[in-house]
Amino acid sequence: MQKMLISALLFSLLVGGSVQAQTLQIEGSTTVGPIADAFAEYFKRVYPDLNITVKKTGSGDGAAALADGRCDIATMSRFMKDKEFKDAVGNGVYPVAHVVAMDGVCVVVHPSNPVGALTTAQIRDIYAGKITNWSQVGGPSMPIVVISRDTSSGTYETFDEIVMAKQPMGPGVEYVNANPQAHARVKTTQGAIGYVGIGFLDREVKAIMVDQVAPNRQTIASGVYPVARPLFLFTNGYPKLGSMVHRFCAFYLTEKGQELVEAKGFVPLTAY
């Protein structure tokens, strides 16, 4: 037993010494997280020596980490802001965007709710606190429980920009800190309205039509669905051809990569 242990140790020392371990640091969005995780899983199998970590701290953190050189790839569920670009360039980092998939922010209600379609204007008024009862939008007389992601989430920013047009949300809006939580709150609350990424849709919540467009793969990939957005990987400059960063960022173009994107519930950009 001991001999085996020692020889294993020696062997690993020899191997570890001869092969330079490669590292790939990925940090950022919680929405893109599942895609990055699936890619990382696949890469670990193909390149066993690759040391790859995926941190899910939020799009803003991803941008900051890339600017500070703390990561190789920043995952973001929104485009970089001007200020983040300036900060990065100030540090000698030149962010380049790679769109890996499309995500639709789906507006969801409780399955028992007869309301099946709203306009962006109606949704905006609900979130601003101007419409407070479902009867005002053709539903039963029931107070609306408005659920939003917290203000630091990328999904929130997409929603804020496209639906709210930067109009402030009302004081009664409840904030939850993750997609599954938003889903759970809508699932268990009859009068609730919320929004989640398309990957979190299932039978337990009802996705409604926005401006007469139902959220599905076609409408989101084509951008017809009003609250659709691309998901990004950001790198420092164009990744060197053949480098691990390049392989990772181009992986979504492969059939396998596309499969993984779809398996995680997002909408691939490539058409196989």
Partner: protein
């Protein structure tokens, strides 16, 4: 593998047989030893005090630029908290009120239950049961708060919606009930200590005057232990006001002050939940981040005051226990 047990010597050691008078050599060693011991202890104590001071200084310094630019008055009185808007507004009033609101509501639930439980444990059940029950109650304090939070979101919230017809289950009531459960171990434990510390004579005197058990409890024992009980309540309040995970998960995080004010079925938001929820993506060096530090300062000051109050009553309780 051979395992050899540690040999422990219990009971009086050889030191006892040593003469009291020390040789000059021993005296010198003892002198150095005691100074060395003191120095080490001083260093350890000093480090912890220094750590507290540095944290205070750090939090205050980080919030100063923001408070200077934005204004303390507006920070404390504005109800609008819109940190990521194009023109951000940082009004912490709803957050401060939210924290006080759930903590006080939690105490309204926890204090009567806690005091009754403390009386029960100290004066009514036998010592055997007490010695089992008290540690069990204290285990309640060891359950991670995220577990309480899960319970609040997945069990209590849907149940309250069904049972009471609330439009939302993650509200002030939900958070307060969970906070009450979490504050109970502290309240029961400290109050029980205070009540147990009272001498037998007090109770015997009361009984000998013909008072019933209920009269003795309500008119003699609880009034006599009131400093300790107040200290227990204040400690419970500190536990409630500083709790983060549970309120973040259970309170709904809506930045509003309930209207009408007694309506516990509305969502509220606390200071701790705001800091925990928003620190992650508030960019370094931005107004949002220093606003969160300013919220932290308010929280620190509140717990600081509560701490002083509880220390005052605890020391009074100790004095009272010492006299009887």
């Amino acid at each position: 593998m051979e395992s050899r047990g540690l040999t422990l010597t219990l009971g009086p050691s050889d030191d006892r047989r040593r003469p009291l008078a020390l040789t000059p050599r021993e005296d010198l060693l003892g002198f150095i030893g005691s100074y060395l011991g003191r120095a080490v202890l001083f260093l350890i104590t000093g480090t912890s005090v220094l750590a507290v001071l540095l944290i205070l200084l750090f939090v205050i310094l980080r919030s100063v630029p923001f408070l200077r630019d934005f204004g303390v008055g507006e920070f404390l009185t504005s109800r609008a908290w819109r940190p990521t808007a194009d023109e951000p507004v940082f009004g912490a009033l709803t957050l401060i009120v939210g924290s006080l609101y759930v903590s006080i509501a939690a105490l309204l639930f926890a204090v009567p239950v806690g005091i009754l439980a403390a009386v029960f444990l100290s004066d009514i059940v036998s010592w055997k049961i007490r010695n089992v029950a008290k540690p069990v109650v204290e285990i309640l304090a060891a359950i991670p708060s995220v577990a309480y939070g899960f319970f609040a979101v997945l069990v209590l919230a849907p149940w309250m919606q069904r049972r009471f017809g609330f439009s939302t289950g993650t509200n002030a009531l939900n958070a307060s009930v969970i906070l009450a459960i979490m504050a109970l171990p502290t309240i029961i434990s400290v109050a029980e200590d205070a009540i147990s510390a009272l001498g037998r004579e007090l109770r015997e005197a009361s009984y000998s005057l013909g008072a019933t058990r209920l009269e003795t409890m309500t008119k003699v024992v609880i009034p006599a232990a009131h400093s300790g009980i107040i200290a227990a309540v204040v400690l419970g309040m500190m536990r409630a006001i500083g709790e983060t995970m549970v309120v973040w998960m259970a309170s709904g995080n809506a930045t509003q002050i309930p209207h009408p004010w007694w309506d516990l079925s509305q969502s509220i938001r606390t200071m701790t939940a705001t800091i925990a929820g928003e620190m992650g993506e508030a960019p370094e060096g931005g107004a949002h981040r220093s606003a969160l530090f300013a919220v932290g300062v308010v929280l620190l000051l509140m717990t600081f005051v509560l701490n002083i109050v509880s220390e005052y009553f605890l020391s009074r309780a100790k004095k009272a226990a010492g006299k009887s």
